[in-house]
Symmetry: C2
Subunit: 437 residues, 2 copies
């Protein structure tokens, strides 16, 4: 870099926004936009932390500076040095009067994302490695990053141990139909669908555990709610009942939602999303009530079947706050769910539903902790006993009642950011038709 350093402070845009007028700053970033008005030349600079206006002024900035600013192409990487000053008209209320500028890496012209190509979702996702630079795409990802940090802080502050479960597994947690299979040194193995079984082992050592890692579902469903690879935050707690479990979900969601809403206000503003604070306790409605309501609206399904997506969407639209659907029939749930003492057809489980039509964001429940009940359930579901040997084994050695849940990061972000399609919540989404870039 040829430019002399002088007295300028190397800083990020976000940092310099809180510095005093008159400070000499040195910024590095990309040309998000540029324009000329009379004797003034403007560059909107972004550096990942924020945006700031660079100004070149004839008679004040040198001719070299002005000509570089006029000629630099959109999305070029530049280094600029100049004086910070307040200007109410500028984005974020500050601008930098440029003294030196250098193009570090010139971008080819034209920048492929324009008013016409931006209308094609397939073009944008084929060029996701470029389109993620957009103001909206990057805002979604900043919200996502903040959400994950908030979840980490929540769990650590509540005495949870972070664990990782293997991605390569020999056992299917959620059933065999939606498994990705691979060869592993001559063995047939699968990509994990959930960390739950491993968490259940871990709670007997750590009491409370959580995970944040990829989960995989080879579902052929091409819906705006499904990715084949997604991030799940899962938690499992020894001695917790389903009631404790729902309370924990309430606390977690309230904490992360309200913190992200507060700390990422700017990004939500960019997305035009106004968030109402989430308040606990969340309402709880039973499967039977959901079914009655759905049927009144002409959506019919047999008792014992899973709630169809359209019914879930209908109910979800009736709420302004997240809520739980409880008391799912056993026939609609996986084999490991514990049932009510007073009605063995009903599980101690719940789905946590986001309002406004966004639907399910988390699933949780109390797991069977008794050996014989679990053994019977594995047999009656015709599951391969050998694969579940270690999972059963846990029930022989002091497995207390316990409960847990998994929350889909992308689904929460889709709701928070009010997005039509879940792929916009993932930096490089994987769907049944997409593994590129």
């Amino acid at each position: 870099m040829h430019v002399q350093s002088g007295a300028a402070v190397r800083t990020t845009v976000d940092e310099c926004l809180s510095m005093q007028d008159g400070s000499m700053v040195e910024l590095r970033g990309w040309v998000a936009n540029k324009s000329d008005i009379g004797s003034l030349t403007f560059i909107l600079l972004r550096d990942g932390s924020n945006y700031i206006q660079l100004v070149g002024k004839k008679g004040v900035s040198s001719d070299d500076v002005i000509s570089i600013m006029k000629e630099v192409s959109i999305e070029s990487a530049v280094l600029a040095r100049g004086t910070l000053r307040s200007d109410a008209r500028a984005l974020n209320g500050k601008e930098v009067l440029v003294k030196d500028i250098e193009v570090i890496a010139r971008a080819e012209e034209p920048w492929p994302i324009n008013k016409s190509t931006v209308r094609s979702a397939s073009f944008l996702y084929d060029n996701r490695h470029l389109s993620i630079r957009g103001m909206k795409s990057s805002s979604i990802m900043k919200i996502r990053s903040e959400l994950i940090k908030a979840a980490f802080d929540f769990f650590y502050d509540h005495g949870f141990t972070f664990i990782t479960a293997p991605s390569i597994v020999g056992t299917a947690v959620e059933g065999g139909a939606t498994l990705f299979e691979l060869e592993y040194f001559g063995k047939k193995v699968y990509l994990t669908q959930s960390a739950q079984f491993y968490e259940e082992a871990a709670i007997c050592s750590f009491g409370k555990v959580f995970t944040m890692q990829p989960a995989f579902r080879a579902e052929k469903s091409k819906t705006p709610k499904h990715l084949t690879e997604f991030i799940m935050i899962e938690a499992e707690v020894a001695f917790n009942t389903q009631e404790d479990n729902m309370r924990l979900q309430e606390e977690l969601l309230t904490y992360i939602y309200n913190r992200v809403a507060e700390r990422r206000k700017r990004e939500f503003d960019i997305l035009g999303r106004r968030l109402k604070p989430v308040e606990k306790p969340f309402q709880r409605i039973k499967y039977d009530e959901v079914r009655d309501t759905a049927m009144k609206h002409g959506i019919n399904f047999e008792w014992g079947e899973d709630i169809p997506t359209e019914a879930e969407r209908l109910i979800s639209r009736m709420f302004e706050q997240p809520f739980f659907i409880t008391d799912y029939p056993l026939s609609a749930r996986s084999f490991y769910h514990m049932c009510r003492d007073d009605d063995p057809r009903i599980t101690l489980s719940s789905d946590l539903i986001a309002p406004e039509g966004f639907g399910e964001i988390a699933t949780g429940g109390q797991r069977i902790h008794d050996y014989n009940t679990l053994l019977e359930r594995i047999k009656s579901n015709n599951l391969p006993l050998e694969s579940f040997r270690w999972y059963l084994d846990l029930r022989r050695y002091g497995m207390p009642p316990h409960a847990g849940f998994g929350i889909g990061v992308e689904r929460v972000i889709r709701w928070l950011c009010n997005l039509k399609h879940i792929r916009a919540t993932s930096l490089f989404p994987r769907t049944i038709t997409r593994v590129y870039p």
Copy 2:
């Protein structure tokens, strides 16, 4: 649960250790050990947060309580209520005089892990779902959990955005020999070896990014340093040089190491590991110096070859602090490495080496940011151009100089905890011979 709640406070062991003597507490946990001395019956209770001694005393505790305490089996889950009091002889200096106790889940006898079986590594890893309850295994995992949280805090405090890169990829970052392949709706895809390429795309949007996610290597190497699935923390920063990159690694490692050493003192004590504080800057030695030293000790390898494991171990043993090996020849590095201006055979890259023989824990370097240089390198390495199309594309649109690194979580833990085999650092390790449990 039949036991009446009374005035007891439901608490964790760790919380109750800082409560006042005389407090009535309610604890839930597992019987780690038990013994009788005269009129006293002891249970060592662990609940995942810590250990505490439960005491039953004839004449003070009821006969029922005494008999339950005598008869309960090791690793049973229990609920106990009683009065907290100080006792210098007890582990952690406190004990609970038991008033009520209930066995929540009785463990079968005998507990399979005993003085004889504990000597068999294959038995312990076949029963990892049980053996993780051990004092040492769980201490390693607590250290691991703290280390990952420390890394998250570090990166957030330094303005990094957390991203996740896909696990399912179409392109091999580190070369094709060690890829796990799978079928993806009729396409051939791979499990990721590194998030680096995706991070390189992301820095043009966020400036600084980091990841923490599984990476996969189908290496047939059966060494105490290799897992087929492991957790990598990777970071990439726009406008960083290799010098900045090494400084960032120094800061990160110093921060997480010293914080974990401080906050997990108890766990390091359990492991018998005394940690000396890590101090920056780390020493830097060149590949050529390493080669000279190795050859003086009879370990010969051609200039340009990668440093053999035994040479790395030899050098690592000569240090008490982590250090960098720099100036690797291009022939020993991947195609994307940038080379020195003054010597195109030498890369701007480094390995971060842990002392005491533990060897490499991180690899980093400056990446080629120029389109033509990268294109040439892809061609001269006979790599499929089509797979690298988007990666090359980044160099057309304002890619500045940038650098990054990947640090292997399990390797850092192996060093911190002074472990012979890396499998002990993973809750459910995956090696070429192990996918169970």
